[in-house]
């Protein structure tokens, strides 16, 4: 959805990305390619593609020997991230930082160097965190600055907090014209809660309508950061970018890690490479590690031997060793992604350590059914899904099948953007065309009888599939997931936004003016109320000025009911829906209307009904047609007529019969799919 779409600006050089993909020869065909192939490509402009991969490794290793990582003690290391609302210029600043420190050549074409997926470049968002080690000269000393790129959206908060756990500070970018937006707030709190040093950076001061003074005041008011601490830059033009690097060195503390201690590292990201196995990104909290070391993953207790390690610049750059406080990658013969669980601690075989606090696994908040457009594509699609999920463990996959749509899956996503991105990647990277059903949220039910509890194995069950919704008579209480939504908008829209939120069963938590004209409102929303079209509506009613972001807020009791849909009295299983009591009538009516418009008229009348239990709450009628016959059919018309009828007969085979009603697959798609 738009939430995601909004993000970015920078136009991608998609063509180049494609080149890169090809020359990486499928090795990393599963996306989330870690290192920057793009850059290898650029360095070796004259090299022929065929030799690229073979020679690159040698080049890197010979170059790598030049970097002695022991020259960077902890006090000359800074680990930081850049966080921002979409479009505020995070990736442009990253490009500039990379150029200034010589990590990449300075050219006109450096656009979103760290965003490697096609979807990232097209949407201007970052989905997968990337890392780049920069060497920076300051006061005659060379500093090692590790830039850990983060995804920009709350759906990927999990990724953000993973990245932040390896950092001591962040650059919080705010657009000099747009000011603080909803994601700025969400990202700020993530960094704030992680107790990181926050350096506010006001970007795009070159814009004609830039108002850095106003934005500084907002920052002071909302984040309680003195305006003197803000750095005004233009990442596009490079203005004051050097000051940013200086401030990183000055303000952000070095990591607290001791090289004398035993080796202890946090796995903050991992990717899978078909040839080399798992590539784990690690932050060293103590000690050092070198090739040949035998290391253990604390979580699984498995032992591995380090085959290769190095820094990311942002491509993989092998080194001899990594030391406390540094950030890099390690390849140690891990065969599966789950061997390097994110949040896991690595230590030496000979020196067990107290594991670092890990991460809570990402929790799926939005579920949707996914089916191949054509059942014959099932196997191909399954492979594509497997590959994509290999590097995105936050997607949960469950087999599902629908009488109407065939065999497919019920997928769980972190949020709507996550779902969009996943779908887009399937289409772009695997050329798969899929039907995605309208998203639903996981409900909970507290069961009543001991018998049922025994049957389900627990007192509280989570319901993902409406078909498994336990009846009210068996339930003490239903609960629905809630989120706290932050909306920032010009105050002229306040009234409209308040009534929109009210219509979505939202409860206002607070409302503050962040400057003379902009209001920040916080609402407690049922997640279900925002999953479908809330953001689109918010955007259109505010002429695009409102920004929205949300965070998880647990569960709340809710009066939920199940609506069944009937065609001539026969229930249609795949349409069963769970809604809040207050929504039953409108949902029932809307679905009946959609069904009426999607099911073609037939030779008899069709009653389309919505029912709660045995009570009908909405009805539409599809009238029988009385005439369907081609007027003219003589010698010259036979061939064409036969073709048409045969096609209709074929189509009939694919229809689903519910009672005496034939429902084309399209009709289900129209009703079930997201708008």
């Amino acid at each position: 959805m738009q939430m995601l779409r909004a993000i970015s600006t920078l136009l991608s050089c998609a063509g180049r990305v494609r080149d890169v993909k090809i020359c990486r020869i499928k090795r990393r065909s599963d996306g989330y390619t870690k290192t920057c192939t793009l850059m290898r490509h650029r360095w070796m402009k004259s090299a022929r593609v065929a030799t690229l991969c073979a020679t690159t490794r040698e080049l890197c290793s010979s170059a790598g020997k030049n970097i002695d990582m022991s020259k960077f003690p902890v006090d000359r290391i800074r680990n930081f991230s850049i966080i921002a609302h979409i479009d505020h210029g995070k990736s442009t600043l990253a490009d500039r930082l990379l150029e200034m420190t010589g990590a990449i050549a300075k050219t006109e074409r450096n656009k979103q160097v760290l965003d490697k997926l096609q979807v990232e470049r097209e949407r201007g968002i970052t989905v997968k965190a990337q890392t780049a080690s920069l060497f920076y000269q300051h006061n005659g000393q060379t500093y090692l600055l590790n830039l850990i790129d983060t995804p920009g959206h709350v759906d990927f908060n999990y990724e953000v907090s993973r990245s932040l756990s390896a950092c001591q500070g962040v650059l919080l970018i705010v657009d000099a014209n747009q000011g603080i937006q909803a994601q700025t707030v969400a990202n700020f709190y993530l960094a704030f809660e992680a107790q990181l040093t926050i350096i506010p950076v006001i970007n795009k001061i070159d814009l004609k309508n830039a108002e850095p003074d106003r934005v500084e005041k907002q920052i002071e008011k909302v984040f309680d950061i003195p305006k003197e601490e803000c750095i005004r830059i233009s990442a596009k033009l490079g203005t004051n970018v050097d000051q940013v690097l200086q401030e990183v060195v000055k303000r952000i503390p070095p990591p607290t890690a001791n090289v004398e201690e035993p080796f202890k590292a946090l796995v903050f990201d991992s990717t899978f490479d078909h040839y080399r196995g798992v590539v784990a990104n690690i932050a060293l909290f103590g000690g050092q590690v070198t090739k040949g070391d035998r290391i253990v993953s604390a979580h699984l207790g498995k032992t591995y031997e380090v085959n290769e390690l190095g820094v990311l610049r942002p491509d993989e750059h092998p080194t001899e060793r990594l030391y406390a406080g540094q950030v890099g990658y390690v390849i140690a013969g891990m065969k599966e992604v789950k061997d390097a669980q994110i949040g896991d601690t690595l230590h030496l075989h000979t020196f067990p350590v107290e594991p670092l606090p890990g991460f809570t696994p990402a929790k799926s908040m939005v579920f949707a059914g996914m089916y191949p457009m054509d059942q014959s594509e099932y196997t191909t699609l399954r492979r594509a899904v497997e590959k994509l999920t290999l590097n995105d463990s936050s997607v949960t996959v469950q087999k599902d099948s629908s009488l109407a749509l065939g065999a497919g899956w019920r997928l769980g996503f972190l949020g709507l953007l996550h779902m969009e991105v996943f779908n887009q990647r399937l289409e772009q990277e695997y050329n798969a065309s899929v039907i995605i059903t309208a998203p639903t949220v996981p409900y909970k039910a507290t069961l009543l009888s001991a018998k049922l509890i025994k049957e389900y194995g627990e007192e509280e069950v989570t319901i993902i599939n409406p078909a498994q919704f336990p009846d009210k008579s068996q339930v003490v209480e239903y609960q629905e997931p809630m989120v706290v939504g932050t909306i920032i908008a010009p105050d002229e829209f306040t009234g409209k936004i308040m009534s929109l939120c009210l219509s979505r069963r939202a409860v206002q938590k607070n409302m503050v003016y962040i400057d003379d004209h902009r209001v920040m409102m916080k609402y407690l929303f049922p997640l279900n109320e925002i999953v479908v079209d809330f953001y689109d509506e918010l955007k259109s009613m505010s002429s695009g000025y409102a920004s929205f972001d949300y965070e998880d807020a647990g569960y709340q009791p809710a009066e939920l009911i199940k609506i069944d849909f009937l065609l001539n009295g026969k229930p249609v299983e795949e349409l069963t829906t769970i809604v809040h009591k207050d929504r039953a009538y409108t949902t029932g009516k809307a679905m009946c209307e959609k069904l009426k418009d999607s099911i073609p008229r037939q030779m008899f009348e069709i009653a389309v009904q919505a029912a709660i239990g045995s009570k009908i709450i909405a009805r539409e009628t599809i009238k029988a047609y009385r005439k369907n016959v081609l007027a003219k059919c003589y010698g010259g018309d036979v061939t064409r007529k036969m073709k048409l009828l045969k096609k209709q007969a074929e189509g009939k085979k694919k229809m689903r019969r519910i009672g005496n009603v034939e429902v084309p697959k399209d009709a289900f798609m129209n009703v079930l799919k997201r708008k």
């Binding site: 009385r626 005439k627 369907n628 003219k632 061939t639």
Partner: protein, 394 residues
């Protein structure tokens, strides 16, 4: 052009080895623009290569313009004994929308002239569902039409063909055509009025008084063989002279100049030949046959499917039974046919029957061996006399 028509007629008659011609139809485009001498020449050629019965129906499709009217007599002299007029409407405004170059008055005069020349053998085409037409205006138009009709009426609903000006105008919203429910009522009204006026409906779109049914068109619906001559003409026959045993669907080249070149070179301008499998032929028998109110008799079906009768073929799917229970389809000792209501829904009924036929064919029936196929076509040949369709778009 005339020469090419003659040449192609000759070639195709030879290929088909047809012995007797029961009807000839000059239609498609505006054959009445061709000189009567062309008609005479083609008929002459046909009778040289096959037996053209003295009472064979020879129809000419005519636009009811004054120019055509002046030549009707000459066409009769050339051998035409039945006229079919594209009257379409008695409202000049409608005729303009349809892009016709005749007026209602001219149509009336032409039809009346033809009726004196070929009494009882004049057909008129009328059309409903026109842009801006209401049920009332259609009913009053029908009232005016009935008295001028001879013994045959073809009733069509306007179909918008992609690529035409009318299609564009309707899709742009400049014109609007009546909705499905209205045209259903219009069709019903016309069927009633025509029957009250003594016309018997014998096909979805065709009505006749005094048994003046079109012999030629009945041939199509009864799945008989026919030869198509001229640019874009379609034919269906067994090319016996080429050693064929199966019926072929044939299409002649559409572009007149290319067609002529081909006829000069090869004797015919056949662009496409498709062998009809036994299943395809039965499908056509079903689809075409059910357009007739009399439907498909058991005897007729047996000609094409001696192995399995209609009951066996249709009992495969239960939705066929539903159609019978709803009173849309009738299967009794006479054969298979649509009811009055069913005929209006034929295109919804046919896919059900086709699926049943297909399932039967694939499940119960062994693949037809060459001997059974041969046996069948022999029978067909002796039974089905072959009305060639003469088409001329010149």
């Amino acid at each position: 052009m005339t020469e090419c028509l003659q040449k192609e007629t000759r070639t195709l008659l030879q290929i088909s080895q047809v012995s007797k011609i029961t009807s000839v139809f000059f239609g498609g485009g505006t054959p009445s623009l061709a000189p009567p001498s062309s008609v005479a020449a083609v008929l002459e050629t046909a009778s040289q290569h096959a037996q053209l019965a003295w009472d064979a129906e020879v129809t000419l499709e005519v636009n009811p313009t004054p120019a055509s009217r002046d030549r009707l007599r000459d066409f009769v002299a050339a051998g035409i004994n039945r006229f079919s007029f594209g009257v379409q409407s008695l409202r000049d405004a409608n005729l303009r929308i349809l892009g016709r170059d005749h007026s209602a008055l001219q149509a009336l005069q032409t039809v009346s002239e033809a009726r004196t020349l070929c009494p009882g053998r004049v057909s008129i085409d009328i059309m409903f569902g026109l842009p801006g037409q209401s049920l009332e205006s259609w009913e009053s138009e029908l009232e005016e039409l009935l008295p001028i009709c001879d013994d045959h009426v073809s009733l069509y609903q306007l179909t918008l063909e992609r690529g035409t000006r009318l299609f564009r105008q309707v899709s742009l919203g400049e014109l609007s055509v009546p909705g499905d429910d209205v045209t259903a009522t219009m069709y019903e009204a016309a069927r009633n009025s025509l029957e009250n006026a003594g016309f018997l409906q014998y096909e979805v779109s065709n009505f006749a008084k005094n048994n003046a049914v079109s012999v030629h068109n009945m041939g199509y619906w009864k799945a008989q063989q026919y030869i198509g001559v001229g640019p874009g003409a379609h034919g269906r026959f067994v090319p016996r002279a080429l050693g064929g045993v199966q019926r072929e669907a044939r299409t002649q080249t559409l572009e007149p100049d290319v067609w002529m070149k081909e006829v000069h070179q090869r004797g015919h301008g056949t662009r496409r030949r498709t062998q009809l499998s036994h299943l395809s032929l039965l499908e056509e028998v079903l689809v075409m046959g059910l357009r007739m109110t009399e439907g498909i008799s058991h005897q007729h079906w047996k000609l094409f499917s001696p192995e399995a009768n209609v009951q066996e073929v249709l009992r495969v799917r239960e939705d066929v039974l539903e159609l019978q229970q709803k009173g849309l389809l009738i299967l009794d000792e006479r054969g298979l046919r649509c009811s009055w209501d069913g005929l209006a829904l034929l295109d919804s009924i046919l896919p059900v029957l086709l699926l049943s036929l297909e399932t039967f064919f694939h499940t119960w029936r062994p693949a037809p061996t060459p001997t059974t196929a041969a046996r069948r076509t022999e029978r067909e040949e002796t039974e089905a006399l072959s009305p060639p369709s003469e088409r001329n778009t010149a």
